[in-house]
Protein backbone atom coordinates (compact mmCIF):
# COMPACT_ATOMS: atom_id res chain seq x y z
CA UNK A 1 0.00 0.00 0.00
CA UNK A 2 1.40 3.40 -0.93
CA UNK A 3 1.39 5.75 2.03
CA UNK A 4 2.86 8.58 0.00
CA UNK A 5 2.25 9.36 -3.62
CA UNK A 6 3.07 12.30 -5.83
CA UNK A 7 1.40 12.82 -9.16
CA UNK A 8 3.20 14.96 -11.73
CA UNK A 9 4.39 17.25 -8.98
CA UNK A 10 5.84 20.60 -10.08
CA UNK A 11 7.21 23.66 -8.39
CA UNK A 12 8.29 26.43 -10.70
CA UNK A 13 9.55 29.83 -9.59
CA UNK A 14 9.25 32.80 -11.89
CA UNK A 15 12.05 35.20 -11.08
CA UNK A 16 12.39 36.73 -14.50
CA UNK A 17 13.55 33.38 -15.82
CA UNK A 18 11.51 30.31 -14.85
CA UNK A 19 13.30 28.05 -12.37
CA UNK A 20 11.97 24.50 -12.38
CA UNK A 21 12.89 23.38 -8.86
CA UNK A 22 10.63 20.33 -9.02
CA UNK A 23 9.63 19.33 -12.50
CA UNK A 24 7.11 16.53 -12.85
CA UNK A 25 7.92 14.04 -10.12
CA UNK A 26 5.93 10.83 -9.81
CA UNK A 27 6.82 8.88 -6.73
CA UNK A 28 5.17 6.19 -4.61
CA UNK A 29 6.41 5.16 -1.20
CA UNK A 30 5.14 1.93 0.32
CA UNK A 31 4.32 1.40 3.96
CA UNK A 32 7.44 0.49 5.96
CA UNK A 33 9.83 1.57 3.22
CA UNK A 34 12.97 3.60 3.84
CA UNK A 35 13.53 5.69 0.74
CA UNK A 36 16.59 7.88 0.25
CA UNK A 37 16.45 10.77 -2.17
CA UNK A 38 19.89 11.90 -3.28
CA UNK A 39 20.97 14.77 -5.45
CA UNK A 40 23.51 17.57 -5.52
CA UNK A 41 22.70 20.93 -3.97
CA UNK A 42 20.25 22.78 -6.16
CA UNK A 43 18.84 19.55 -7.57
CA UNK A 44 15.45 20.34 -6.07
CA UNK A 45 15.48 17.64 -3.41
CA UNK A 46 14.78 19.98 -0.49
CA UNK A 47 11.97 21.69 -2.38
CA UNK A 48 10.55 18.22 -3.03
CA UNK A 49 10.67 17.35 0.65
CA UNK A 50 8.93 20.61 1.55
CA UNK A 51 6.18 19.78 -0.91
CA UNK A 52 5.87 16.24 0.47
CA UNK A 53 5.45 17.65 3.95
CA UNK A 54 2.96 20.29 2.94
CA UNK A 55 5.36 23.05 3.99
CA UNK A 56 5.21 24.57 0.55
CA UNK A 57 2.50 24.52 -2.12
CA UNK A 58 3.22 23.10 -5.58
CA UNK A 59 2.70 24.98 -8.85
CA UNK A 60 0.79 21.93 -10.08
CA UNK A 61 0.36 18.25 -9.34
CA UNK A 62 -0.68 16.41 -6.21
CA UNK A 63 0.73 14.94 -3.03
CA UNK A 64 -1.26 12.18 -1.35
CA UNK A 65 -0.45 10.96 2.13
CA UNK A 66 -2.43 8.00 3.40
CA UNK A 67 -4.67 8.43 0.36
CA UNK A 68 -5.46 12.06 1.22
CA UNK A 69 -4.70 14.92 -1.17
CA UNK A 70 -2.92 17.24 1.24
CA UNK A 71 -3.23 20.41 -0.83
CA UNK A 72 -6.97 20.00 -0.97
CA UNK A 73 -7.05 20.94 2.70
CA UNK A 74 -7.41 24.39 4.20
CA UNK A 75 -4.30 25.83 5.81
CA UNK A 76 -5.38 25.08 9.40
CA UNK A 77 -6.55 21.58 8.43
CA UNK A 78 -3.16 20.98 6.85
CA UNK A 79 -1.40 22.13 10.02
CA UNK A 80 -3.28 19.59 12.11
CA UNK A 81 -2.85 16.89 9.47
CA UNK A 82 0.91 17.51 9.47
CA UNK A 83 1.08 17.23 13.25
CA UNK A 84 -0.81 13.95 13.26
CA UNK A 85 0.60 12.26 10.18
CA UNK A 86 4.09 13.54 9.48
CA UNK A 87 7.21 13.47 11.61
CA UNK A 88 9.92 15.89 10.58
CA UNK A 89 13.64 15.63 11.25
CA UNK A 90 15.68 18.55 10.01
CA UNK A 91 19.35 19.49 9.96
CA UNK A 92 18.67 21.82 12.89
CA UNK A 93 17.16 19.91 15.76
CA UNK A 94 14.36 22.39 16.56
CA UNK A 95 14.07 21.37 20.19
CA UNK A 96 12.31 23.71 22.60
CA UNK A 97 15.15 24.94 24.86
CA UNK A 98 13.00 25.40 27.99
CA UNK A 99 11.54 21.88 27.86
CA UNK A 100 13.21 18.70 29.08
CA UNK A 101 14.06 15.87 26.69
CA UNK A 102 10.93 13.97 27.73
CA UNK A 103 8.66 17.01 27.33
CA UNK A 104 10.13 17.74 23.93
CA UNK A 105 9.41 14.18 22.82
CA UNK A 106 5.84 14.29 24.10
CA UNK A 107 5.03 17.79 22.86
CA UNK A 108 3.41 16.89 19.51
CA UNK A 109 1.25 14.21 21.14
CA UNK A 110 0.16 16.57 23.90
CA UNK A 111 -0.57 19.36 21.42
CA UNK A 112 -3.04 16.98 19.87
CA UNK A 113 -4.62 16.28 23.25
CA UNK A 114 -4.05 12.57 22.79
CA UNK A 115 -3.46 9.92 25.39
CA UNK A 116 0.26 9.17 25.42
CA UNK A 117 1.11 5.56 24.60
CA UNK A 118 3.83 5.33 27.25
CA UNK A 119 4.75 1.74 26.35
CA UNK A 120 5.58 2.86 22.83
CA UNK A 121 7.31 6.07 23.96
CA UNK A 122 9.46 4.11 26.42
CA UNK A 123 10.46 1.67 23.69
CA UNK A 124 11.43 4.56 21.43
CA UNK A 125 13.41 6.29 24.18
CA UNK A 126 15.19 3.05 24.98
CA UNK A 127 15.93 2.30 21.32
CA UNK A 128 17.47 5.75 20.95
CA UNK A 129 19.53 5.40 24.11
CA UNK A 130 17.89 8.37 25.80
CA UNK A 131 16.62 6.75 28.99
CA UNK A 132 19.23 8.46 31.14
CA UNK A 133 18.73 11.81 29.42
CA UNK A 134 14.97 12.05 29.92
CA UNK A 135 15.16 14.90 32.41
CA UNK A 136 18.09 16.71 30.74
CA UNK A 137 17.62 20.02 29.00
CA UNK A 138 18.55 20.30 25.31
CA UNK A 139 21.54 22.57 25.98
CA UNK A 140 23.10 19.87 28.15
CA UNK A 141 23.23 17.49 25.18
CA UNK A 142 25.70 17.05 22.34
CA UNK A 143 24.56 17.65 18.76
CA UNK A 144 24.18 13.94 18.12
CA UNK A 145 22.13 13.50 21.27
CA UNK A 146 19.90 16.45 20.35
CA UNK A 147 19.25 14.92 16.94
CA UNK A 148 18.41 11.63 18.67
CA UNK A 149 15.78 13.51 20.69
CA UNK A 150 14.39 14.97 17.47
CA UNK A 151 14.17 11.46 15.98
CA UNK A 152 12.51 10.14 19.16
CA UNK A 153 10.00 12.99 18.95
CA UNK A 154 9.21 12.07 15.35
CA UNK A 155 8.84 8.35 16.16
CA UNK A 156 6.85 8.84 19.38
CA UNK A 157 3.63 9.96 17.72
CA UNK A 158 3.67 7.00 15.27
CA UNK A 159 3.32 9.23 12.22
CA UNK A 160 2.26 7.87 8.84
CA UNK A 161 5.61 8.98 7.49
CA UNK A 162 8.85 10.58 8.70
CA UNK A 163 10.46 13.15 6.43
CA UNK A 164 14.13 13.74 7.17
CA UNK A 165 16.02 16.55 5.45
CA UNK A 166 19.82 16.20 5.76
CA UNK A 167 19.48 15.07 9.38
CA UNK A 168 23.23 14.62 9.74
CA UNK A 169 24.16 17.95 8.17
CA UNK A 170 25.40 19.47 11.42
CA UNK A 171 27.14 16.35 12.73
CA UNK A 172 30.61 14.94 12.16
CA UNK A 173 30.61 11.86 9.95
CA UNK A 174 30.99 9.39 12.80
CA UNK A 175 28.12 10.84 14.84
CA UNK A 176 26.14 11.17 11.61
CA UNK A 177 26.40 7.44 10.94
CA UNK A 178 25.35 6.78 14.50
CA UNK A 179 22.24 8.95 14.26
CA UNK A 180 21.35 7.46 10.89
CA UNK A 181 21.71 4.01 12.39
CA UNK A 182 19.09 4.88 14.96
CA UNK A 183 16.76 6.13 12.23
CA UNK A 184 17.36 2.82 10.43
CA UNK A 185 16.63 0.86 13.59
CA UNK A 186 13.42 2.89 13.99
CA UNK A 187 12.48 1.91 10.46
CA UNK A 188 13.15 -1.78 11.14
CA UNK A 189 11.76 -2.08 14.66
CA UNK A 190 8.70 0.12 14.38
CA UNK A 191 8.04 -0.49 10.64
CA UNK A 192 8.21 3.29 10.35
CA UNK A 193 8.01 4.64 6.80
CA UNK A 194 10.84 7.12 6.19
CA UNK A 195 11.82 9.43 3.34
CA UNK A 196 15.33 10.77 3.72
CA UNK A 197 16.95 13.55 1.74
CA UNK A 198 20.72 13.70 1.61
CA UNK A 199 23.64 14.54 -0.64
CA UNK A 200 25.81 11.96 1.14
CA UNK A 201 25.94 8.62 -0.73
CA UNK A 202 27.05 6.63 2.32
CA UNK A 203 24.06 7.89 4.31
CA UNK A 204 21.72 7.29 1.39
CA UNK A 205 22.68 3.60 1.46
CA UNK A 206 20.68 3.22 4.68
CA UNK A 207 17.59 3.27 2.52
CA UNK A 208 16.01 0.20 0.98
CA UNK A 209 15.55 2.30 -2.15
CA UNK A 210 17.62 5.14 -3.48
CA UNK A 211 16.16 7.76 -5.79
CA UNK A 212 18.44 10.19 -7.55
CA UNK A 213 17.14 13.56 -8.63
CA UNK A 214 18.77 16.18 -10.79
CA UNK A 215 17.25 19.43 -12.09
CA UNK A 216 13.95 18.68 -10.40
CA UNK A 217 13.49 15.31 -12.08
CA UNK A 218 14.04 11.70 -11.09
CA UNK A 219 17.06 10.53 -13.05
CA UNK A 220 17.56 7.13 -11.53
CA UNK A 221 16.44 4.76 -8.88
CA UNK A 222 17.87 1.64 -7.34
CA UNK A 223 16.44 -0.98 -5.12
CA UNK A 224 13.26 -2.75 -4.42
CA UNK A 225 10.07 -0.98 -5.17
CA UNK A 226 7.69 -1.91 -2.45
CA UNK A 227 7.68 -4.37 0.38
CA UNK A 228 10.05 -7.29 0.31
Amino acid sequence: MSVLKTIDLKKHYDTGAVVKAVDGINLAVESGEFVSIVGSSGSGKSTLLHLLGGLDRPSSGRVEIGGKDIFNMKEDELTIFRRRSIGFVFQSYNLIPVLSVMDNILLPIRLDGNKVDMVHVDRVIKALGLTEKRTSMPDQLSGGQQQRVAIARALASKPTIILADEPTGNLDSKTGMDVMGLLKVGNEQFAQTIVLITHNPEIAQMGSRIIRIEDGQIVGSAGSNGGV
Binding site: T131, T175, M177, K184, Q205, A222
Partner: protein
Protein backbone atom coordinates in the same frame (compact mmCIF):
# COMPACT_ATOMS: atom_id res chain seq x y z
CA UNK B 1 -23.08 27.00 25.51
CA UNK B 2 -26.25 25.06 25.09
CA UNK B 3 -27.12 21.66 26.46
CA UNK B 4 -26.88 20.07 23.03
CA UNK B 5 -23.28 21.10 22.66
CA UNK B 6 -22.32 19.79 26.08
CA UNK B 7 -24.09 16.52 25.40
CA UNK B 8 -22.43 16.21 22.03
CA UNK B 9 -19.03 16.88 23.52
CA UNK B 10 -19.58 14.26 26.21
CA UNK B 11 -20.62 11.75 23.58
CA UNK B 12 -17.58 12.47 21.46
CA UNK B 13 -15.32 12.13 24.50
CA UNK B 14 -16.91 8.78 25.23
CA UNK B 15 -16.36 7.68 21.62
CA UNK B 16 -12.75 8.88 21.77
CA UNK B 17 -12.27 6.86 24.96
CA UNK B 18 -13.84 3.80 23.33
CA UNK B 19 -11.44 4.06 20.41
CA UNK B 20 -8.49 4.47 22.79
CA UNK B 21 -9.56 1.25 24.52
CA UNK B 22 -10.01 -0.48 21.17
CA UNK B 23 -6.47 0.53 20.11
CA UNK B 24 -5.10 -0.69 23.42
CA UNK B 25 -7.06 -3.94 23.02
CA UNK B 26 -8.97 -3.45 26.25
CA UNK B 27 -12.35 -2.49 24.83
CA UNK B 28 -15.43 -3.91 26.50
CA UNK B 29 -19.03 -2.96 25.91
CA UNK B 30 -20.11 -1.25 29.13
CA UNK B 31 -23.77 -0.55 28.89
CA UNK B 32 -26.68 -2.51 27.57
CA UNK B 33 -29.69 -0.23 27.15
CA UNK B 34 -31.79 1.39 24.45
CA UNK B 35 -29.40 4.33 23.93
CA UNK B 36 -27.59 4.74 20.64
CA UNK B 37 -24.19 4.68 22.34
CA UNK B 38 -24.93 1.25 23.73
CA UNK B 39 -25.76 0.05 20.22
CA UNK B 40 -22.47 1.49 18.95
CA UNK B 41 -20.62 -0.27 21.74
CA UNK B 42 -22.17 -3.60 20.80
CA UNK B 43 -21.34 -3.17 17.13
CA UNK B 44 -17.79 -2.15 17.89
CA UNK B 45 -17.45 -5.13 20.14
CA UNK B 46 -18.62 -7.40 17.31
CA UNK B 47 -16.31 -5.71 14.85
CA UNK B 48 -13.28 -6.04 17.11
CA UNK B 49 -14.11 -9.67 17.80
CA UNK B 50 -14.30 -10.41 14.09
CA UNK B 51 -10.98 -8.70 13.40
CA UNK B 52 -9.44 -10.65 16.23
CA UNK B 53 -10.72 -13.92 14.80
CA UNK B 54 -9.49 -13.02 11.34
CA UNK B 55 -6.06 -12.21 12.74
CA UNK B 56 -5.96 -15.46 14.67
CA UNK B 57 -6.97 -17.32 11.54
CA UNK B 58 -4.09 -15.72 9.61
CA UNK B 59 -1.68 -16.59 12.40
CA UNK B 60 -2.84 -20.20 12.37
CA UNK B 61 -2.35 -20.32 8.62
CA UNK B 62 1.19 -18.95 8.97
CA UNK B 63 1.90 -21.48 11.66
CA UNK B 64 0.78 -24.24 9.32
CA UNK B 65 3.05 -23.02 6.53
CA UNK B 66 6.01 -23.00 8.90
CA UNK B 67 5.16 -26.46 10.18
CA UNK B 68 4.92 -27.65 6.60
CA UNK B 69 8.33 -26.24 5.73
CA UNK B 70 9.82 -27.81 8.79
CA UNK B 71 8.15 -31.16 7.96
CA UNK B 72 9.35 -31.07 4.38
CA UNK B 73 12.88 -30.34 5.47
CA UNK B 74 12.80 -33.10 8.03
CA UNK B 75 11.40 -35.64 5.59
CA UNK B 76 13.88 -34.74 2.85
CA UNK B 77 16.90 -35.07 5.10
CA UNK B 78 17.20 -38.85 4.85
CA UNK B 79 16.65 -39.13 1.08
CA UNK B 80 19.20 -36.38 0.44
CA UNK B 81 21.72 -38.09 2.71
CA UNK B 82 21.03 -41.35 0.89
CA UNK B 83 21.54 -39.78 -2.52
CA UNK B 84 24.92 -38.48 -1.37
CA UNK B 85 25.80 -41.86 0.06
CA UNK B 86 24.86 -43.82 -3.07
CA UNK B 87 26.69 -41.25 -5.16
CA UNK B 88 29.81 -41.92 -3.13
CA UNK B 89 29.35 -45.67 -3.60
CA UNK B 90 28.75 -45.18 -7.32
CA UNK B 91 31.93 -43.12 -7.66
CA UNK B 92 33.91 -45.99 -6.13
CA UNK B 93 32.85 -48.34 -8.95
CA UNK B 94 34.99 -48.59 -12.04
CA UNK B 95 33.28 -45.99 -14.20
CA UNK B 96 34.03 -44.42 -17.53
CA UNK B 97 35.08 -40.75 -17.47
CA UNK B 98 31.63 -39.73 -18.60
CA UNK B 99 29.99 -41.71 -15.85
CA UNK B 100 32.36 -40.24 -13.23
CA UNK B 101 31.45 -36.77 -14.45
CA UNK B 102 27.74 -37.53 -14.19
CA UNK B 103 28.10 -39.00 -10.70
CA UNK B 104 29.95 -35.84 -9.71
CA UNK B 105 27.08 -33.73 -11.01
CA UNK B 106 24.60 -35.72 -8.96
CA UNK B 107 26.73 -35.29 -5.83
CA UNK B 108 27.05 -31.55 -6.48
CA UNK B 109 23.35 -31.06 -6.83
CA UNK B 110 22.60 -33.18 -3.80
CA UNK B 111 24.91 -30.88 -1.81
CA UNK B 112 23.16 -27.83 -3.20
CA UNK B 113 19.78 -29.24 -2.26
CA UNK B 114 21.04 -30.05 1.21
CA UNK B 115 22.30 -26.50 1.67
CA UNK B 116 19.09 -24.97 0.36
CA UNK B 117 16.88 -27.02 2.66
CA UNK B 118 19.02 -26.18 5.68
CA UNK B 119 18.94 -22.47 4.85
CA UNK B 120 15.19 -22.60 4.35
CA UNK B 121 14.67 -24.20 7.71
CA UNK B 122 16.83 -21.61 9.46
CA UNK B 123 14.99 -18.78 7.72
CA UNK B 124 11.62 -20.23 8.48
CA UNK B 125 12.45 -20.84 12.13
CA UNK B 126 13.85 -17.36 12.49
CA UNK B 127 10.83 -15.73 10.87
CA UNK B 128 8.31 -17.69 12.84
CA UNK B 129 10.07 -16.91 16.09
CA UNK B 130 10.67 -20.61 16.88
CA UNK B 131 14.24 -19.54 17.44
CA UNK B 132 14.25 -16.62 19.79
CA UNK B 133 17.24 -14.38 19.30
CA UNK B 134 18.31 -13.00 22.66
CA UNK B 135 20.88 -10.26 22.35
CA UNK B 136 23.16 -9.90 25.34
CA UNK B 137 26.42 -7.99 25.73
CA UNK B 138 29.19 -10.08 24.20
CA UNK B 139 32.78 -9.73 23.07
CA UNK B 140 33.06 -8.52 19.48
CA UNK B 141 36.57 -9.86 18.93
CA UNK B 142 35.65 -13.31 20.25
CA UNK B 143 32.71 -13.44 17.84
CA UNK B 144 34.87 -12.32 14.90
CA UNK B 145 37.60 -14.85 15.79
CA UNK B 146 34.99 -17.60 15.79
CA UNK B 147 33.60 -16.56 12.40
CA UNK B 148 37.10 -16.29 10.92
CA UNK B 149 38.02 -19.75 12.22
CA UNK B 150 35.01 -21.16 10.40
CA UNK B 151 35.56 -19.11 7.24
CA UNK B 152 39.27 -19.79 6.93
CA UNK B 153 38.81 -23.12 5.17
CA UNK B 154 36.84 -21.52 2.34
CA UNK B 155 39.36 -18.70 1.99
CA UNK B 156 42.46 -20.89 1.80
CA UNK B 157 40.83 -23.00 -0.92
CA UNK B 158 40.88 -19.91 -3.15
CA UNK B 159 44.17 -18.52 -1.83
CA UNK B 160 42.33 -15.54 -0.44
CA UNK B 161 43.93 -13.71 2.44
CA UNK B 162 41.37 -13.39 5.25
CA UNK B 163 42.63 -10.83 7.75
CA UNK B 164 41.39 -9.05 10.84
CA UNK B 165 42.68 -5.57 11.56
CA UNK B 166 43.28 -5.74 15.30
CA UNK B 167 41.09 -3.70 17.60
CA UNK B 168 40.59 -3.43 21.34
CA UNK B 169 39.76 -6.76 22.91
CA UNK B 170 37.34 -5.11 25.34
CA UNK B 171 34.75 -3.96 22.81
CA UNK B 172 31.32 -5.36 23.58
CA UNK B 173 28.05 -5.22 21.65
CA UNK B 174 24.53 -6.58 21.95
CA UNK B 175 24.47 -9.93 20.17
CA UNK B 176 23.25 -13.47 20.21
CA UNK B 177 26.70 -14.99 19.85
CA UNK B 178 25.69 -18.13 17.97
CA UNK B 179 23.49 -16.31 15.47
CA UNK B 180 25.67 -13.25 15.03
CA UNK B 181 28.63 -15.52 14.29
CA UNK B 182 26.46 -17.14 11.64
CA UNK B 183 25.51 -13.71 10.25
CA UNK B 184 29.14 -12.61 10.06
CA UNK B 185 30.20 -15.95 8.60
CA UNK B 186 27.54 -15.60 5.89
CA UNK B 187 28.95 -12.20 5.00
CA UNK B 188 32.54 -13.49 5.01
CA UNK B 189 31.55 -16.49 2.88
CA UNK B 190 29.79 -14.18 0.46
CA UNK B 191 32.88 -11.96 0.23
CA UNK B 192 35.09 -15.00 -0.41
CA UNK B 193 32.71 -16.33 -3.04
CA UNK B 194 32.80 -13.15 -5.10
CA UNK B 195 36.49 -12.39 -4.68
CA UNK B 196 38.81 -13.85 -7.29
CA UNK B 197 41.78 -16.11 -6.44
CA UNK B 198 44.60 -14.41 -4.50
CA UNK B 199 42.29 -11.61 -3.42
CA UNK B 200 41.82 -10.17 0.05
CA UNK B 201 39.00 -10.09 2.57
CA UNK B 202 39.55 -7.85 5.58
CA UNK B 203 37.57 -7.34 8.76
CA UNK B 204 37.74 -4.10 10.67
CA UNK B 205 35.98 -2.79 13.77
CA UNK B 206 35.02 0.83 14.47
CA UNK B 207 33.38 2.07 17.66
CA UNK B 208 30.63 4.67 17.57
CA UNK B 209 28.71 6.16 20.46
CA UNK B 210 25.65 3.94 19.91
CA UNK B 211 26.92 1.17 17.64
CA UNK B 212 29.91 -1.05 16.99
CA UNK B 213 30.60 -1.32 13.29
CA UNK B 214 32.14 -4.42 11.76
CA UNK B 215 33.29 -3.90 8.17
CA UNK B 216 33.95 -6.84 5.86
CA UNK B 217 35.70 -5.52 2.77
CA UNK B 218 36.70 -7.58 -0.24
CA UNK B 219 38.58 -7.14 -3.49
CA UNK B 220 35.85 -8.68 -5.61
CA UNK B 221 34.13 -7.26 -8.66
CA UNK B 222 31.75 -5.11 -6.64
CA UNK B 223 28.02 -4.73 -6.93
CA UNK B 224 26.17 -2.62 -9.46
CA UNK B 225 24.60 0.45 -7.88
CA UNK B 226 21.08 -0.50 -8.89
CA UNK B 227 21.53 -3.89 -7.24
CA UNK B 228 22.85 -2.56 -3.92
CA UNK B 229 19.58 -2.39 -2.00
CA UNK B 230 18.51 -5.78 -3.36
CA UNK B 231 21.37 -7.90 -2.07
CA UNK B 232 19.67 -8.52 1.28
CA UNK B 233 16.42 -9.71 -0.24
CA UNK B 234 15.48 -13.35 0.10
CA UNK B 235 16.40 -15.48 -2.92
CA UNK B 236 17.81 -12.49 -4.77
CA UNK B 237 20.94 -13.18 -6.80
CA UNK B 238 22.77 -10.96 -9.25
CA UNK B 239 22.16 -12.02 -12.84
CA UNK B 240 25.90 -12.45 -13.33
CA UNK B 241 26.23 -14.78 -10.32
CA UNK B 242 24.56 -17.71 -12.02
CA UNK B 243 27.95 -19.45 -12.25
CA UNK B 244 28.39 -19.33 -8.47
CA UNK B 245 26.76 -21.86 -6.19
CA UNK B 246 24.21 -20.42 -3.81
CA UNK B 247 20.53 -19.70 -3.44
CA UNK B 248 20.44 -16.15 -2.11
CA UNK B 249 19.55 -16.65 1.51
CA UNK B 250 22.88 -16.02 3.28
CA UNK B 251 22.76 -12.24 3.29
CA UNK B 252 19.03 -12.23 3.92
CA UNK B 253 19.55 -14.40 6.98
CA UNK B 254 22.43 -12.17 8.13
CA UNK B 255 20.21 -9.12 7.87
CA UNK B 256 17.35 -10.72 9.80
CA UNK B 257 19.70 -11.83 12.57
CA UNK B 258 21.33 -8.44 12.94
CA UNK B 259 17.96 -6.66 13.01
CA UNK B 260 16.71 -9.08 15.65
CA UNK B 261 19.73 -8.06 17.74
CA UNK B 262 18.72 -4.39 17.45
CA UNK B 263 21.35 -3.55 14.85
CA UNK B 264 21.38 -3.13 11.10
CA UNK B 265 23.42 -3.95 8.07
CA UNK B 266 24.45 -1.99 5.03
CA UNK B 267 26.64 -2.33 1.97
CA UNK B 268 28.79 0.05 -0.02
CA UNK B 269 30.34 -0.94 -3.30
CA UNK B 270 32.01 0.43 -6.36
CA UNK B 271 32.10 -1.57 -9.57
CA UNK B 272 35.57 -3.06 -9.91
CA UNK B 273 36.65 -1.86 -6.49
CA UNK B 274 35.13 -4.50 -4.26
CA UNK B 275 32.40 -4.22 -1.66
CA UNK B 276 32.22 -3.33 2.01
CA UNK B 277 29.50 -4.98 4.06
CA UNK B 278 29.00 -3.26 7.40
CA UNK B 279 27.34 -4.83 10.38
CA UNK B 280 26.19 -2.39 13.05
CA UNK B 281 25.53 -3.89 16.46
CA UNK B 282 24.07 -1.81 19.27
CA UNK B 283 26.39 -1.07 22.15
CA UNK B 284 25.04 -2.00 25.52
CA UNK B 285 24.20 1.01 27.63
CA UNK B 286 23.61 0.83 31.32
CA UNK B 287 19.80 0.96 31.06
CA UNK B 288 19.83 -1.90 28.61
CA UNK B 289 21.50 -4.35 30.93
CA UNK B 290 18.50 -4.66 33.22
Amino acid sequence: MNIGWIFNNKLLKRLDGMLDDALAGTFKAESYDEQLISKIESKMSTFLERSRLRREHIETEQERVHTLISDISHQTKTPIANISLYCGLLAEQSLTDDQTHLAGQIANNANKLDFLIKALVKTSRLESGIIAIKPVAGSVTAMIDQAIAEGLGHASGKHIKLSFTPCEETIVAMMDVRWCTEALLNIIDNAIKYTPQNGKVDIKVTEYEMFVRIDVSDTGRGIREEDLPKVFERFWRAAESADQPGVGVGLYLAREIVIACGGYIKVASLRGNGSVFSLFLARPYSENTD
